[in-house]
């Protein structure tokens, strides 16, 4: 595992020089039923040759729209309504569709966000690389294209390319597909590569390897990179220059480290304060100076993660003496998976996992996809039966709890899931959604239920008027608050949070984490927090269990895991947190 790459290394052969891409006063609007709605409003930026520039912003900030405007890949309803995009002296906004074809791929490469949906499922990998080479005049159809495609895939870091290019996308992992897409993007050695959140769909260690490789390839060829991301830490680590976008406008731009250490615009300040990977470093810094700065900046008062974390530490100390709320002993879950033909083979998803959670504290299960952490959550919630092992909740063995007792136990244990869009029924209004557990468990009459719903809305800081709105009228953060309110409806003692903040923008994520912290101390809740994001763990958890391939490889208190990780895998995970290598000025 490599160390975080410094932003400029001595081996960097980039020719930093003349401007390659100049966007001037770009305006992009979307046609909606209410008329043209501006998505990008007067964006200007300059990218020099050999340079990497990152556009940072939350979803809806216009960062992707700006990037896609460059090669006119905008969705049908969007239209460039003003400004110019100079690439190598040519205004791309004035080119015809035919002229653009010779720019796309050949001069400007593109690496898309989601590796799962960006390769055509019905064509072999090799075919999709070869057609790119042929279309851009880099190879002759046939053997020549095949040989060059192998070279492209090998340089993108795909081992055994000659064999694997005969396979189809669904036979590739997400990381492998992203390598293929990077290979395709760079196959014609373009002058500019647009990378739109190229690794957000991947595990953190895979992300690191892929981005390191991308940095190496673009450095070797002197390719400029326009990097789009929502992750400030990642952006600062990978780009020399940052452009922060908010609601279609550039709010701040400048050299990465400078911008992070001394953000000027209130929005950038909030972003820096909320970025979990960066904020965790603030914990080591002087807390008083941070508090003082927050006093000056009223906007960030509602997302003071440092303070929440401190309160947590104080609270955790007092809770240590309490008996465990959840105790898991030698938990094992074996699935039978089909291995083609009629056979199936056992797959151990969870392998002798043991841990316990003290009442009123938070234990985080951390691991990459496929590590078995979500299976543990399902077993603890009794949504699935373990193959062997014991789960004891408040002194009751889950496996022997049935009927009425089980129902009573379920009331005390509630889940919050990852997807704030998928986990709310679109046909239920917010009031009905939150009241549903009350109705299902026959708690109180209609009037009491209604009162409880309003109380819950208040607890999760949502306005009462939302009660008769529907999920599609709410933002992602609001929806996740609704999901939390629903989980709290039955006054549970234990809440299982399965990637509950992973799908949220960083500022919203910070708010939800702060809310969870407040609710915990207020209601004395016990959390089992499942996540792939170690940076978030530090802010919310008292104890951490690091899972890999179904086993817990390291279990300790949060500070121990972060300050003194014992296992190599934990160290790798920690090193892979984007922006971990950047020190912020206090």
């Amino acid at each position: 595992m490599s160390q975080p790459t410094p932003t400029t290394s001595p081996t960097d052969k980039r020719r930093i020089g003349a401007p390659l891409l100049e966007i001037r006063d770009l305006q992009v609007s979307f046609a909606t039923q209410a008329g043209m709605v501006p998505a990008v409003n007067g964006v200007s930026l300059t990218l020099l040759q050999g340079e990497t520039l990152a556009i940072v912003g939350e979803s809806g900030s216009g960062k992707t729209t700006t990037a896609l405007s460059v090669i006119k890949l905008l969705p049908g309803a969007a239209e460039i309504t003003g400004g110019s995009i100079l690439f190598d002296g040519v205004d791309l906004t004035k080119l015809s569709e035919k002229e653009l074809e010779s720019v796309r791929g050949k001069q400007i490469g593109f690496v898309p966000q989601d590796p799962m949906s960006n390769l055509n499922p019905v064509w072999r990998i090799g075919f999709q690389v070869e057609e790119t080479l042929v279309a851009n005049g880099k190879a002759q159809r046939g053997r020549d294209a095949r040989e060059k495609a192998i070279a492209v895939l090998e340089s993108a870091g795909l081992g055994d390319a000659a064999q694997r290019m005969r396979q189809y996308p669904h036979q590739f992992s997400g990381g492998m597909r992203q390598r293929v897409l990077i290979g395709i993007g760079l196959s014609s050695t373009p002058k500019l590569l647009i990378a739109d959140e190229p690794t957000s769909a991947l595990d953190v260690t895979v992300q690191r390897v892929i981005l390191d490789h991308l940095a190496k390839l673009t450095a070797e060829s002197g390719t400029s990179v326009l990097f789009i991301t929502h992750d400030l830490g990642l952006a600062a680590e990978r780009a020399q220059k940052l452009v922060v976008m908010y609601k279609g406008r550039v709010v701040e731009a400048g050299p990465s480290v400078e911008l992070l250490q001394n953000p000027q615009h209130p929005y950038t300040k909030r972003l820096v304060a909320a970025a979990p990977s960066l904020a965790s470093h603030r914990l080591q810094g002087s807390a008083s100076s941070i508090a003082a700065r927050d006093q000056r900046d009223a906007e960030s008062a509602d997302v003071d993660l440092a303070r929440t974390a401190e309160e947590r530490a104080a609270h955790a100390a007092s809770a240590l003496a309490a008996p465990p709320a959840v105790q898991v002993e030698n938990l094992t879950k074996v699935f039978r998976i089909s291995s083609g033909k009629l056979r199936s083979e056992p797959f151990t998803a969870v392998d002798s996992v043991s841990f316990s959670i003290a009442k009123g504290t938070t234990t985080a299960l951390v691991g990459e996809s496929g590590s078995g952490k979500s299976t543990v959550a399902r077993l603890v919630l009794k949504l699935d039966e373990p193959t062997s092992g014991r789960i004891v909740v408040d002194g009751r063995d889950l496996s022997t709890t049935r009927g009425k007792d089980l129902l009573a136990l379920r009331r005390r244990m509630q889940p919050v899931f990852q997807d704030p869009f998928g986990s709310l029924d679109p046909l239920y209004n917010i009031g009905a959604t939150i009241a549903e557990p009350l109705v299902a468990h026959r708690v109180g009459n209609a009037r009491e239920q209604q009162a409880r719903v309003l109380e819950l809305l208040d607890q999760v800081s949502l306005p009462k008027k939302l009660v008769d709105r529907y999920p599609n009228e709410l933002s992602g953060g609001q929806r996740q608050r609704v999901a939390i309110a629903r989980a709290l409806a039955l006054k549970p003692d234990i809440v299982v949070l399965d990637e509950a903040v992973s799908a949220l923008d960083v500022l919203v994520q910070a708010q939800i984490l702060a809310l969870l912290g407040e609710l915990q101390s207020e209601l004395d809740l016990t959390y089992l927090f499942i996540t792939h994001d170690l940076a978030v763990v530090r802010l919310i958890a008292d104890n951490v269990c690091v899972m890999r391939k179904g086993r817990i490889v390291e279990a300790a208190s949060t500070s121990e895991v972060f300050d003194n990780p014992k296992e190599q895998y934990t160290q790798e995970l920690l090193a892979a947190i984007p922006g971990a290598g950047i020190t912020l000025g206090a």
């Binding site: 074809e101 796309r104 055509n120």
Partner: protein
């Protein structure tokens, strides 16, 4: 791939047995005694009636009779009609005609449906799209006999381009008009499905990536939009094949095509049980085979199915 096909073939067996059992049971459950009916008003000598019953295994329990019936299917003995012709001979004569008609109709349906659907999808909400929508609605809402009489009148009588009826050996050129009628009866669904599928795929991420790769528009449409859009369309067209063979009855009647539909229609009117049962059995087999063909084509078009679990 081979495993996939083998599994599909194996799945055909229980469906075949279930369907034939059902057909046989329904005939068995029909009221009336065919043997007693043979004697007319005078009635049969009981000894003769018993002999006939024994000959046709009618004295055996239901399930044994069914097994004899299955044996007949597999040995090609489908019984005889009241006029003494072998049912297998009639099928041998009429099935190829209907098959030819259905294949022609399917080809017309596929070409016309996919072309119109593709253009409509590419020019979503344009003039062409709107006109094709209106045309599809007209076709969907028109009963097939109206379509057939209209075609006969316009192309056969007014323009004189084609004969209004088909002669005994049903040559290809005489089948063109009924084939078009059959095709237009089912083409609207292909147009609509192709259009929807094309629009969906035009918005797919991999099409955007293909554009970013620098591919030309025609290549993107052909390789990345059309190919992917055809997967659901093939399923529809495949099941239409079964539908056209079985459902050609009305069209064959109007154009006097000597196919299975026409023959079956006459057999039903005359209550010729052996003919009806045999024909329906053949229809079941045709349906099963055309569905099998669809599954195989599906796997050919979509590698996720070919290599999937």
């Amino acid at each position: 791939m081979l495993w996939y096909i083998l599994r599909r073939v194996l799945q055909v067996i229980p469906v075949f047995l279930g369907a034939t059992l059902l057909i046989y049971f329904m005939v068995f459950a029909l009221p009336g005694d065919p043997i007693a009916a043979l004697g007319g008003d005078r009635g049969l000598n009981p000894a003769v009636a018993d002999a006939i019953r024994a000959r046709y295994h009618l004295d055996q329990p239901f399930f044994i009779q069914y097994l004899y019936y299955l044996q007949g299917i597999f040995t090609g003995d489908l019984g005889t009609t009241f006029s003494g012709q072998k049912v297998s001979d009639i099928l041998g004569r009429t099935l190829p005609v209907t098959f030819r008609l259905a294949v022609m109709a399917i080809i017309i349906e596929a070409i016309v449906g996919i072309l119109i659907g593709l253009v409509a999808g590419l020019r979503k909400n344009g003039v062409f799209d709107t006109v094709s929508l209106l045309l599809s609605l007209v076709l969907i809402s028109m009963p097939i006999f109206v379509l057939a009489f209209l075609a006969q009148f316009v192309f056969g009588i007014k323009l004189g381009w084609a004969r209004t009826t088909v002669s005994g050996d049903a040559p290809l050129n005489e089948l063109i008009l009924p084939a078009f009628v059959l095709a237009f009866f089912v083409v609207a669904n292909v147009i609509r499905l192709t259009r929807t599928s094309v629009i969906e795929n035009l918005d797919a991420d991999f099409v955007r990536t293909a554009t970013a790769k620098g591919l030309s528009r025609p290549r993107i449409i052909r390789v990345h939009v059309l190919r992917n859009s055809l997967i659901p369309v093939v399923t529809l067209i495949g099941t239409d094949f079964g539908l056209l063979i079985v459902g050609a009855t009305v069209t064959e009647g109007i154009f006097n095509v000597p196919g299975v539909g026409n023959t079956l229609f006459k057999a039903i009117i005359l209550s010729e049980a052996p003919t009806v049962v045999s024909f329906v059995t053949v229809f079941v087999i045709v349906y099963l085979l055309s569905n099998l063909l669809v599954d195989v084509l599906y796997a050919f078009l979509d590698p996720r199915i070919r290599y999937g679990k």
